[in-house]
Symmetry: C2
Subunit: 788 residues, 2 copies
């Protein structure tokens, strides 16, 4: 809660010059298509036809960048810069162009007059670059636009990077969002010993699009209390007079970095880390008043402060004067090169904020030393003869991953307090949960250097994992299936970043973002309707097929195979939906690897179709697979002459045509599995129409009938859940009988028996509160069936 005192003036001339240069370049990008160096007075023809961009946040961002450059230069700080106000594209582009990094990455935009002209023209223009920060901007680690995730990204970046200082600029707009509000508490998880530091820089420019911001308007004492309550020590800098702000901000930054160094050397439990609060006018140094209306220091400077520049000579003159107010002749030589005074504030080589390798995580990524999943496999002597808890086995696999990365420290597991509940607790034999507060006798598995991170904020988990991956490490997010929707929008933004990054050749792929969705819709025995929602997958597959994968392993060994595969993959979002409750073991590990590699296949051992099925029973997901095999068992017993084929789908994307997804299968292969004119009765884990959406182009689509969750649920037994949604074994037999023609009288009798079984089920659970023995005790046991 100190206010920085004016220091013994260091020489900030080059910092100010760099700042003026960056401001000049930001304005130029918004307005100019010609005359970048103002070689002549501005004319309407120099101005872009469409004026787009966000000026308001840019001068503040530039100021921070200028000063970060100084401490990198002078102190050798190893700094990563995370930008919350990602719509400040003009600032980020200007900064990296001054760095030289932009030109190194984009040789068509050299650091000279021609390059400056291109930098200006390309901004926010068709065929050019986006107005928001995007993967093409060196030094950036996330797409600008959707607000709220900068600070959790910063924590993720700092984990296991003990020498790194992550300077995270948070706008006062962003600070109003829920995800940002929660992520201040990330300091409870950051070890002063094994992690880097996060230096939040809360930038209060006072305004959003058309409103004051909450944090800028609350009384100063209240703001201090809030930030102190979040566990930080705020250092304030405030002003609108550049020289004074420069001096104070330089001193504040020094103070914060000194303190960080001290705390890292001495702290044993969670220290009170310093942070900066910078209060400067929105649109600072821009036009103060336009058409007699205040602009600088108001919401009116949010985007383009002078809108009529092409038509209105007064506005044009204001723009000319505004740009010349930065004294460009001091900043750029006649060839457009930045002058020595500007370049003096650019750090060297890879310490430049545009060049730090952590901002291009793929360059740092090392392959994980993964164990062989066979070592964690369950032994399967016969399909369905035994049961196991899939996530428990995966937990053992992950434990070994933790053990093998104990020194490297480049693997983490994130979750909202569900690791144990999701039966992944084995990991605690290799690592602990990160926790910096004092530990009590009642606590379990807490330690400062733990690599499991649990906070009851899906947003913070997701954001930290993204930050961890974006800086070149590996990880998994384990989450209740229904509540993954909480981060739908974060997933969207990350997938967009991955997609856009594919076109940036200097960004090698980062590790995939792996979701383990468990405690899924069908097994909410102790919860209820609010916990039943399998629709996250529907959102995921709207994103570009190049970057998304969805897996539904039906048992333990397939989960191990899929988990292993996901951790080896790059540049993707893998969604793995898996159960935690005892599930029949269908496949040996070798079979599982083969099946998962194919992604979908006929289960010969469960089929009796001799290559010519009367019906295909398809399934995707553990519970649908169980119900399908139970239905096959009923069919084999009661309608032994019916030729049944069982197809299991692990990799959902296989159902798409190969023209639509890299994993899509060609029609010939699809037809070989599902036939072209045979009824297909498909049991799917989630909302059934998703399967139609994937398969509607297929030859046999007219005969495809899908069952799945259709939003009926409550707190009830597992089997009652499938009955409520018509996805149970009995209904599946009914579906088969209703779709295979010519089955005769015997089938009608069987059909009635199935209807009766559903009725019997209802009566039984109402009386007994649990499932019928014939359901509970059923196992797949091939010898009891009539051989075909």
């Amino acid at each position: 809660m100190t206010t920085a005192t004016t220091p013994e003036a260091p020489d900030l001339t080059m910092v100010d010059a760099w700042w003026r240069a960056a401001n000049y370049l930001a304005v130029g990008q918004i307005y100019l298509r010609e005359n970048p160096l103002l070689a002549e007075p501005l004319r309407p023809g120099h101005i872009k036809p469409r004026l787009l961009g966000h000026w308001g946040t840019s001068p503040g961002l530039n100021l921070i960048y200028a000063h970060l450059n100084r401490v990198v230069r002078e102190r050798g700080t190893h700094a990563l810069h995370v930008t919350g106000p990602g719509h400040g594209g003009p600032s980020a582009l200007a900064a990296s162009w001054l760095d030289g990094t932009y030109s190194e990455r984009h040789p068509n935009v050299p650091r000279d007059a021609a390059g400056m002209a291109t930098l200006f023209r390309q901004f926010s223009q068709p065929g050019g670059v986006p107005s928001h920060i995007a993967p093409g901007v060196p030094g950036s680690i996330h797409e600008g636009g959707e607000l709220g995730y900068s600070l959790s990204h910063a924590f993720g970046a700092a984990f296991d990077n003990p020498d790194l200082v992550v300077a995270c600029v948070i706008g006062d707009g962003e600070a109003e969002t829920g995800p940002l509000a929660a992520s201040w508490h990330g300091n409870k998880f950051l070890s002063p010993r094994t992690d880097g530091a996060v230096l939040p820089i809360l930038h209060l420019n006072g305004w959003k699009i058309a409103n004051p911001t909450l944090l800028a308007r609350m009384p100063r004492a209240e703001l201090d209390a809030l930030l102190t309550g979040y566990g930080w020590r705020p250092i304030h800098v405030e002003g609108d007079e550049p020289a004074r702000v420069h001096a104070e901000f330089a001193a504040a930054l020094e103070e914060a970095l000194d303190e960080i160094a001290h705390l890292k050397a001495t702290a044993h439990t969670r220290p009170r880390w310093p942070m900066l609060v910078l209060r400067t006018p929105k649109g600072w140094t821009g036009p103060h008043t336009v058409d007699d209306t205040p602009v600088e220091g108001t919401w009116r400077s949010h985007q383009v402060p002078l809108a009529g520049v092409r038509e209105n000579p007064e506005h044009l003159a204001l723009l000319d004067a505004w740009m010349r107010s930065y004294r460009p002749d001091e900043l750029f030589d006649a060839d457009g090169h930045p002058t020595p005074i500007v370049l003096a504030n650019v750090p060297a080589g890879d310490t430049r904020l545009g060049a730090v390798p952590e901002a291009n995580g793929g360059t740092l990524l090392r392959e994980l030393p993964l164990p062989d999943p066979h070592d964690f496999a369950v032994k399967v002597t016969e399909p369905g003869a035994s049961s196991s808890e899939p996530t428990r086995a995966l937990g053992e696999f992950l434990r070994e991953v933790f053990a093998r990365t104990a020194t490297r420290r480049d693997f983490r597991l994130f979750g909202p307090d569900e690791t144990e509940s999701n039966r992944l607790g084995a990991v605690y034999r290799a690592t602990a949960k990160a926790w910096q507060e004092p530990v009590t006798d009642l606590d379990t598995h807490l330690a400062p250097d733990g690599r499991v991170v649990e906070i009851l904020s899906e947003h913070t988990c997701q954001g930290m994992l993204e930050g961890y991956l974006l800086t070149g490490r590996h990880g998994v997010f384990s989450c209740y299936e229904a509540f993954t929707h909480i981060v739908s929008s974060m997933f969207n933004q990350h997938a967009k970043w991955l997609h856009a990054s594919r076109e940036i050749d200097w960004r090698p792929p980062i590790a995939s973002l792996n979701y383990l969705l468990t405690s899924h819709v069908w097994r909410q025995d102790q919860n209820g309707f609010s916990h039943q929602d399998p629709g996250f997958v529907d959102n995921v597959i709207n994103k570009r097929p190049e970057v998304v994968r969805v897996y539904l392993p039906p048992d333990t060994n397939t989960l191990l195979s899929v988990g292993d595969h996901a951790l080896r993959s790059r540049g993707l979002v893998n969604v793995i939906v898996a159960g935690k409750t005892p599930t029949p073991d269908w496949l040996t590990m070798d079979e599982a690897v083969l099946h998962c590699t194919r992604g979908a296949g006929i289960w010969e051992w469960a089929s009796n179709d001799d290559g010519d099925p009367d019906v295909v029973l398809a399934c995707a997901g553990d519970v649908p697979t169980l119900e399908t095999l139970a239905a096959v068992d009923l069919i084999r017993r009661h309608l032994p002459d019916l030729r049944v084929r069982v197809v299991n789908v692990v990799d959902l994307m296989r159902l798409l045509p190969e023209t639509e997804h890299p994993h899509g299968m060609p029609d010939t292969e699809y037809d070989a599995l599902f036939g072209t004119d045979v009824p297909v009765v498909f049991a799917y884990h989630g909302y059934p129409w998703l399967i139609h959406r994937l398969a509607y182009r297929r030859h046999n689509h007219a005969h495809l009938h899908v069952r799945g969750y259709k939003e009926y649920g409550t707190t009830t037994t597992p089997f009652d859940m499938v009955v409520l949604n018509d996805t149970d074994r009995y209904q599946r037999v009914i579906d088969v009988i209703d779709r295979v023609p010519g089955l005769g009288a015997r089938a009608a009798t069987v059909r009635q028996a199935m209807v009766d079984a559903r009725t019997r089920h209802r009566a039984w659970i109402l009386e007994h509160g649990e499932d019928m023995p014939e359901v509970r005790d059923w196992t797949w046991s091939s010898d009891a069936r009539d051989p075909h």
Copy 2:
């Protein structure tokens, strides 16, 4: 930051008796299926086969409820109780059963021994009631389970209810979530004059599922700073000795309510409202130690503290002793009726927390005095001859709604600082934005009693609106389309509540939740890829069809009609996707009303098919409609003999079969619009596969070809966006030519001209940075076409 001092002891005997009774009933629900009054020692046969439920939070919830009862009784406080820890179902059910409200609503569960037995048996059992709070619980206003929304619901409930005190219990687990963290700032919007009060009760029981909570573990001074920083004055009560906690909590509650009354009488700007912090052990009064392991006061009491009761005689004895520790013979008579000492703590009639009408909003709902949308219509002399901004006209309509509800105050508009940007600014002529901090010269439209609420937190907007609707009022959430994903999960939970409420006959429907999604995917001229995502609709239609509607009005008058309809509807979620930029006016207001009532229809004036089309050009959404009509124009000029039918879809649900959705159309009607064997080229606003998902059962599905957004985007011109996604007019003509057989050589020439136009477009925008004149200046002008 005061700690309540021990008061001059009021008589809390009945409060304690009520608390013990509620605790007893909570335990009974988790464990017992027989012997509810413990008439005999517990035997294994009395115990449920499946032990499910959440004990840990229940005693704290019960304590708060007991004390709220007291202040309602003694002070006549008009209180609404909002429960954050919604998995505390046993507590809520116990409380409303003691209230008598449960039995009034559920006569099969009377307030006697038989009713108690049913209360116990039904809990978390098949055919019974969910383990989490659900609409069947009197006094509840949201589904329990997903955490984070209680406090924003509480603010929504308090808006425009000046006499109401909303007591909002926030668990320390929930307090870690982002949405909850953001919503503390709701106090910046709550007027001491025109709104009610929110009394947050932060309940620190110290633990989540398997972890300590952040807020319980941070130093007390830090917690105080945090809550103070959020603008509250915390009053602490802490302990594990019931008598002392009773006394202190009673005093603290009195102090808070006195202060609220004082502040409401005196405050002119935002006061520092009081709040309570209650720190009691998790699973308080439950088994202290089980099998030598601490349980009470630890995470182990989260769900079922004694798991082996049926098999383990020691556990059974512990349960018996635990239940008897509440001295049930003092609490219930031999017939199971609560004794007078317990009933003495139950308030009267509709002041009971289970009976307050605000918790059953449909009973308070009044029809909105809506103006006639004709009064706000744009004049349309000829289709496409003029343009207007659809949301601007809707803003005028909403302004009149605000004006007509100025006294009633039962209508609000919520948004994350986008009302002006979304061109709804006309509303400020009738009301202001709610704002309790001092107002400066630079501010516009801020006032303490404003009924527009703008906070840069989609979560808080959504939560406040939900709370407002759930307590019987009306409202709209205006949001950037892409960022509606941020509240996907909140939407899911609200839709589940609406769905489940339909089966509760004593809950009349509340007003619909109306989303206005604007600044949509196709018009992100100044933003970029991060702002381009039309997939919220895909998530919406996964919910039960009974409660969701999706509208895509193509122009201003249709938006007015849809907006009017949405505000009249009940118990739904209406998603309206509409543009804010100038859009051709296609329909007169009368035509618009007719078209929107039908939901989909042939636009005869744009068609020349004489009932027998060669091709159907279908469209849904403003930009797809524009491109479709431009394509029709091209076809009519270049291929005048081709018989083209234009079908516009406003109500997306019309595409579903009538068996799947209340708005679904029968096949006969669908076939009459789309034909049975004619090519249908469909331009859709969002991800194209959604249309297949809706229409895959239709006769003509094999001939349906859909274009839409397929995740290609950046900062570029509006027309370039449709070109990037193959949804532009030229591509639509190509699609038609490729699908209609036998068009001959002329068509091949036209096709090439279309390909050339797309090439020309690309070259043009790269050079000029804006769209070609032939695109920019195009209008639908029927007289220029060859009449058919």
